[in-house]
């Protein structure tokens, strides 16, 4: 692709001022791998980084695509849970905040959740995080995905009631949190 002519930045600038975050199609590479995904990062920085995804309908929609492509539904079904725990209810074993979910996907968890960190790129993990949160209705209905094509397993994510998150008491006292 040829480098953009000055017109493009001008156009972008003009529109960026009024750009609606929800509708942007981020098509270029995300920032280089940094410590954004590091759970030891200050919560604020992580939250701000994650907002980019959770407020963007395209990102959440991509998250839904990866959920299927990477066979998350092999263990979690369409959110109802199977071998793995349900993702659409109010119980979150390892934390419902974006940083915790990121850590779950990237570094894995005991009892069977694999670590996808080296294989699923950071950008896509954030998209998955946003999508997983939408499964329990945490996202506003204008951003969350609506019904998908194909057989329907349940209500579209955009129509789900927002579940009130409650942490699950550990069944095994020694279990990591």
């Amino acid at each position: 692709m040829k480098a953009s002519v000055p017109l493009m930045p001008m156009l972008t600038l003009a529109l960026a001022l009024a750009a609606c975050e929800r509708e942007q199609r981020p098509t270029h590479a995300p920032p280089p791998a940094s410590s954004i995904g590091n759970p030891s990062q200050p919560a604020g920085a992580v939250a701000r980084a994650h907002d980019r995804y959770e407020q963007n309908a395209y990102a959440v929609s991509q998250g839904k695509t990866w959920y299927r492509a990477y066979n998350c539904n092999g263990c979690h079904a369409q959110g109802g849970g199977d071998v793995g725990p349900a993702l659409m209810d109010a119980t979150w074993r390892y934390g419902a905040d974006p940083a915790s979910i990121y850590a779950t996907i990237a570094y894995g968890r005991p009892n069977g959740m694999p670590a996808f960190g080296g294989r699923v790129p950071e950008d896509q993990i954030w998209q998955l995080v946003a999508y997983v949160r939408s499964l329990s209705g945490q996202l506003p209905s204008s951003v969350a995905p609506s019904r998908s094509d194909g057989l329907q397993a349940g209500k579209p994510e955009a129509r789900r009631e927002k579940e009130k998150i409650r942490p699950e008491p550990p069944s095994n006292p020694g279990e990591l949190r």
Partner: protein
């Protein structure tokens, strides 16, 4: 056949409805020629009639008394002329209709004995091709580039994975849409050896413009040799650098989306790479398949094809070179 890695640019592949290399395109081309002649004659006739009418009529101005004699009685002479012209128009239309019916009939009568069966699935923004066979062990999957034998009919079964696409290789045949939930069929035959380019012809999203397809029409013996090679899984790379490249492939995001037969990589989200090195192009017919472009594509596909589903992969340079070496062994 093709040694894709040696060329810097893809072979100038033909994508031209006026240069038919297959029987279907030829039939349509004949209809085009006839229709063009007839329509040009009609166009010239009407334009000349208008110009003559305007040229010969005397001039007037706003104060000229209007001629209202036509309101008092019928203008038979003029009505007769309009009648004849209308009759000629109807005759011309019947000729066009007949031409269309005869051409449709010819297209439907393509002999299908000994056909190659290809199942094409349209994805955003690449083509998945599965060569079917009576013997399931002879089936194989490839992507974005088809090889077909010259002179043998090809039955392409069309399905869509996501949105509506359309297969169009103008030098060989007209187009047919790939519609989710439906199965369509396109029958064609290449009558001349060569490489023909096709493009998705139904708007399918961000990278509709960069969703091309190459069709290599080769002598039947060459086709059998190619198909035999395609049926083989990827062989164990001899070179240790390539073996390290395979480990990179299996240890990073490549394995999440791509299949390489003979390895644990069996994902079907992205194109099948088992014989990547046998293709002339990458990114659905868009860029030459050489180290430079491949490195750029793997490093940052969004720079070449913004919006594509393949993510950026920042690999250490050694790993990247090893990976490229491995991919080169996938002939």
């Amino acid at each position: 056949m093709n040694a894709a890695m040696s060329s810097n640019e893809p072979a100038a592949a033909m994508q031209d409805a006026l240069r038919a290399a297959g029987t279907q395109a030829q039939h349509i081309g004949a209809l085009w020629n006839g229709t063009l002649v007839l329509c040009t004659l009609v166009f010239v006739a009407i334009v000349v009639a208008t110009i003559v009418a305007v040229w010969r009529a005397p001039r007037a101005d706003a104060a000229t008394r209007p001629d209202t004699t036509s309101l008092e009685g019928p203008e038979h002479r003029i009505w007769r002329r309009v009648g004849w012209a209308t009759g000629a128009a109807v005759a011309g239309l019947l000729v066009l209709l007949a031409g269309d019916v005869f051409t449709s009939r010819a297209l439907a009568r393509l002999p299908l004995r000994d056909a190659v069966n290809i199942e094409l699935v349209g994805h955003q923004w690449w083509w998945e091709a599965r060569y079917r066979d009576g013997d399931p062990s002879h089936e194989f999957t490839t992507a974005n580039e088809l090889t077909i034998p010259v002179g043998r009919p090809v039955i392409v079964t069309l399905r869509a994975n996501d949105v509506i696409h359309s297969l169009w290789v103008p030098s060989l045949s007209g187009k047919k849409d790939l519609i989710p939930g439906r199965t369509a069929t396109l029958r064609l035959r290449a009558d001349r050896a060569g490489t023909y380019r096709g493009q998705c012809a139904e708007f399918c999203g961000l990278e509709h413009a960069l969703m091309a397809l190459l069709v290599h029409a080769v002598p039947p013996a060459d086709y059998e040799a190619w198909a035999a090679r395609q049926r083989q899984p990827a062989s164990e790379p001899a070179d240790p650098v390539a073996r390290h490249g395979r480990d990179v492939f299996l240890g990073t995001s490549c394995v999440m989306c791509h299949t390489v037969s003979g390895t644990p990589a069996q994902a079907r989200t992205g194109p099948d790479l088992t014989h990547l090195a046998s293709r002339q192009t990458i990114a659905a017919g868009m860029f030459p398949n050489n180290r430079g472009y491949l490195a750029g594509w793997i490093g940052d596909p969004q720079a070449l094809k913004p919006g594509v589903n393949m993510p950026a992969n920042t690999l250490p340079p050694d790993d990247l070179q090893a990976l490229l070496a491995y991919l080169e062994t996938l002939r």
